[in-house]
Amino acid sequence: MGLAGDEKRIRALFFELKAQDQLVVPAFDRLRSYAHVSRQERASAFSRSLVVVSVCVAISILCALTMWLRNSVDQTPRPHSAVLSTTPNVVSVGIDKPSEVASGPAKRNQTTRSFHRPASHRRAQTGGGAIMLRAVALSQWQSPTAGFLGSPSDSFLKSLPQLDQSARELESFLPRNHVKESSQ
C-alpha cells in the first residue's frame, strides 16, 4: 500500500525544500578548516596560558623555598666540626665579656666554652643579643658530677682552728683514733 495522499504531498514539498537547501550548502572543507583553525588557536592560547601559569607557580615555589631556608638557617645549631677552626676567636668573646664568665674552674669552663661557643662566636660576629645570652648560659654550665668532688667535711677542711680555743674544741678537729691514743 503506498503512502497516503497527504504524505506524498508533504514528502514532495520536503523534497523541493531539500533541493533548494542543497544550493546553499557551504563547502565542507571551508567549515572544517574554520574549525581546525579555531582548534589551533585555542590550543596555542591554551599552551601560552599553561606556560604563564607554570612560570608563576615555579616563581612562587622558589620564593617559598627561599623564605623557608632563611628561617631554618636562623634556627638550626652549628655543627661541631666548625668548633676547632673558630676556637681562638671564641676565647676573645669570653674576654670581651668578663662579667658573663662562670664561677667554676676556669679550665673546665674554657673547655666547655670551646665546645659550645662556636655558634655563639658566629652570632657575636653578627651582633645578636640572643647570641650573647646563649654564651652566658653555656659558660655557666657545670658538670653533673661536680657534686662528687665535694664532701660534708669541706667546711672543716677548709677552715683553720683559732689559738684561743680550748682543747675540747681543738679535739673536734681531730679524728677519733688520734683522740684515743692521746688519752692512753
Binding site: D6, E16, L17, Q22, A35
Partner: protein, 186 residues
Amino acid sequence: MDIAEIKAELEKLHPASFGWALSCCRHNHAEAEEVLQTVYLKILERKAIYREESKLKTWLFAVIRNTAISERRKAVLRSLMHAGAISRITSVTCDRETDAQLERSELQKRFQVALEILPARQRETLHLVFYQDLSLREAAEVMNVSIGSARRHYERGKKRLREALNGEDVEYGFSWRRKENSGALL
C-alpha cells in the same frame, strides 16, 4: 572509529547535516553554519565521541540538535527577548522571498511558513522522516524521545501541515501555540 574515518563520513553526510542544522536553526543560514562548525570542532577535539552505539547519522544529528539548542539558549541569554515568532517568521519569509528562485510555488511558500509555525518536536519529526528519510525509530533516537512520543509528534505534525496546506488560516497556528505553549519561546 579513528578521526580519518569520521572525517570521511562527515563529508559524506555534510549536505544532510546542513539541511538538519537549517531546520534546527529555523532556516537561519548563518546560525546553521555556526552550529555545524561548532559540531565539527567538538568532534575534532573529541569532546563528542562516537561510540558506535547507533548509526553515525543519528548520532551526528543528535549532536547537531543539542548544539543548536545550546547555541540558541546562549543567544537568548546574550540578547533581549525578541518580539516573538511573528517577527521571526516574517523575517524568514522575507529572506526566503529575497533569496527565492523565480519559479517557487505559492504552495511551497505556504508550506515553509506552516512548517515554521509548527511546534519544535513536530517540525523536527517531520523533517527527519520526510527530509532526511529516517525511520520513526531513528528520529526518536535523534530527538531522544520514546518511539511512542515520536509517533505522536509525527501524526500531529502531519495533521497541522495538512490543515495549513488545505487553506486553514495561518493565524490559527499562533493562537494554538500560545494556548498550549504559553511559556514556550516562540
